[in-house]
């Protein structure tokens, strides 16, 4: 645990505090206050992201600190979009999810800015990482929806809001194209940088595993529909486990050395 007594650190902690406060308000049925504080947290999150961008001299997508900083900022617009257009609820849990996503940035990963090595100086750097980060946040929300179905299978949904199994499906439908795009942009970039669109690198293989789990989920749901909601939920949870391994274990563990080790 490493507390950052810097402007960057304070911005992150303020965002976490706002998200947690928003969650408490929501749990105590003060929804309007909760949403207002959630929005405030999002604004502080943007300020934190922009501050990092200015100080590092490049868009902050390079290392684990920057990745989690960015994901912590993405949760708010996703919450609003899902509620308004997909009728997927769980905004209170999203607030908690946002705080959880910022903890690694706030307390774990080194915030020292790094210069971009030659391999990262490519126009594909931004779209490849951005779509992946957004897809990860979406799939994390999908996993929360799926878990809610497993933990509270008979819970009734709010008026106009879909249940956990349907909510997870909607979220995976939203995130899967981004996951696909991320995989393909990464392959294209690999071809431009290293001459190989597929190098059997551990990061590439685990990214493929993540994609395949959701692909299998769609085929399973095609066969059985909503007949086995718990099995459907298990697929979605399997997907987030694969994503966590891709994002964390592959980057941090010495078991998987490869070309993506700078991430």
């Amino acid at each position: 645990m490493d507390i950052k007594f810097t402007t960057q650190g304070y911005l992150i902690y303020a965002t976490i505090a706002a998200y947690l406060l928003a969650f408490l308000f929501s749990v105590c049925k003060q929804r309007k206050f909760g949403q207002a504080v959630y929005f405030l947290g999002f604004l502080i999150g943007i300020a934190s992201f922009v501050y990092r961008w200015y100080h590092s001299g490049h868009i902050p997508f390079q290392n684990m600190f920057e990745v989690f900083l960015c994901m912590g900022m993405m949760i708010y617009p996703l919450s609003i979009f899902c509620r308004r257009y997909l009728r997927v609820g769980g905004m209170a849990v999203d607030m908690l999810l946002g705080a959880v996503l910022l903890v690694p940035a706030g307390f774990v990963f080194d915030a020292e800015p790094q210069k971009l090595p030659p391999a990262l100086q490519c126009w594909l750097f931004v779209p490849h990482v951005a779509v992946y980060l957004f897809s990860y946040v979406i799939m994390a929300k999908a996993a929360v929806q799926a878990a809610s179905k497993l933990i509270m299978p008979n819970a009734e949904s709010e008026q106009g809001i879909v249940d956990g199994e349907r909510g997870a499906y909607e979220m995976v439908c939203l995130g899967f194209p981004l996951l696909t795009l991320g995989l393909i942009l990464g392959s294209w970039w690999g071809k431009l940088a290293w001459g190989d669109y597929w190098g059997w690198d551990p990061k590439e293989l685990w990214s493929l595993v993540s994609w395949l789990v959701y692909l299998a989920y769609f085929h399973f749901r095609f066969i059985f529909g909503r007949k086995y909601p718990r099995a459907n939920s298990a697929w979605v949870l399997g997907g987030i486990v694969a994503i966590l391994i891709t994002l964390l274990w592959v980057n941090l563990s010495k078991i998987f050395p490869g070309l993506h080790s700078y991430a």
Binding site: A193, P202, I255, G258
Partner: protein, 355 residues
């Protein structure tokens, strides 16, 4: 028929799961071993079964053909798979043997500045010639860009007197220190690619030659107690030149992080039948494409920057793979987001009507 349809879809699901399991195994054994594993004979059988079931899907599920987005996704996968097979090392060997082609799958080229090369070397040993191209590549210039030097991590001049005294002078222009018995030593300039030049007046001077080889150096001025002064260059790679200056040994140090490489470039010219047909400056992420091959900036001479190392890859099958990627992307977006957009539009229409 219904039974066969169920077998096909269940087998497809099983194949996806198996591929995921193989991928997890491949991630644990490292990229080199994973490449061997996925190109092995048992996996070749798996790939053909994979392809067979993709095709069977079209036969038993007319929806895959009738719905353009599903058609695009599945055809895309077939194209990626076919392009990958066609462009693989085995694919090249079979094409060379049965179709009379003469293309190498991969290799490397080492080209010295000012020289031409047409030999592609084996990537494993950089010695065995695997292919002689029917054109040459000339390296006109190799150069690097560095990130700006940061004051706190800049170069340092180490000063040692024969009596055993030791001083460190930060090589920031204007920085000065007093060495007892010798005088004041001031840093004047630093160079990353030092080159001696003779000015129009016939005076020796130095410049930082951006197109030259790496040759870090620091210019210092020693002002004696009597007011006279002498200038010297302290070289990182040639410490013997300043072993005895005014009774001092001078060396310099450029920290590893100092002048971190930002990018490196090779100015290449393709020469075919004695004529220059193409010129391009390549860098990481911007290769040269010619004659059925891509040439990538792979590495370089990190001591003197005298040669560049290019990675050579055949472009066979690549455009099938790219076409497959495009179809999969478009199909996936259409299938999952198209439905969402249509549904939301329909809901908005209903709300408008109700209002």
């Amino acid at each position: 028929m219904a039974k066969i349809k169920r077998v096909v879809i269940w087998a497809s699901l099983a194949i996806i799961i198996l591929l995921a399991i193989f991928s997890i195994y491949g991630a644990f054994i490292g990229s080199g071993n994973a490449s061997i594993f996925f190109n092995s004979l048992p996996l070749a059988v798996f790939w053909f079964i994979f392809l067979a079931f993709l095709l069977l899907g079209f036969l038993f599920y007319p929806r895959l053909i009738k719905k353009p987005q599903l058609l695009m996704m599945h055809i895309g996968c077939i194209l990626i798979f076919a392009g990958g097979l066609w462009g693989s090392e085995t694919g090249h060997e079979l094409q060379n043997k049965y179709l009379g082609k003469d293309k190498v799958f991969k290799g490397s080229m080492v080209i010295y500045e000012g020289q031409s090369e047409n030999r592609v070397l084996d990537k494993k040993d950089y010695e065995t010639v695997v292919k002689t191209l029917d054109f040459e590549i000339r390296l006109d210039d190799f150069h690097m860009d560095y990130y700006d030097q940061d004051e706190e991590s800049g170069p340092t001049v180490h000063i040692t007197s024969h009596a055993g005294g030791h001083w460190d002078l930060k090589a920031v222009p204007g920085e000065e220190l007093d060495v007892p018995g010798v005088g004041k030593i001031k840093a004047l300039r630093t160079f990353k690619r030092f080159r001696l030049i003779i000015t129009e007046d016939g005076v020796n001077d130095a410049k930082d030659d951006t197109g030259g080889s790496e040759n870090p150096a620091v210019e210092i001025e020693i002002t004696r107690p009597d007011g006279t002064s002498v200038k010297k260059f302290v070289y990182l790679y040639f410490p013997d030149f300043t072993k005895d200056v005014e009774g001092l040994t001078l060396t310099c140090e450029f920290p590893v992080q100092d002048g971190m490489v930002k990018d490196y470039f090779s100015d290449l010219v393709i020469v075919k039948d004695g004529e220059e047909v193409l010129k391009k400056t390549i860098e990481v992420n911007d290769p040269l494409h010619y004659g059925g091959y891509h040439f990538y900036q792979s590495s370089y001479d990190d001591k003197a920057g005298a040669y560049t190392v290019l990675s050579v890859t055949s472009d066979t099958g690549l455009y099938f793979v790219y076409a497959g990627y495009l179809l999969v992307c478009l199909g996936v977006i259409w299938q999952f987001w198209g439905k969402m957009i249509l549904r939301n539009s329909a809901n908005n229409d209903v709300k408008t009507e109700q209002a």
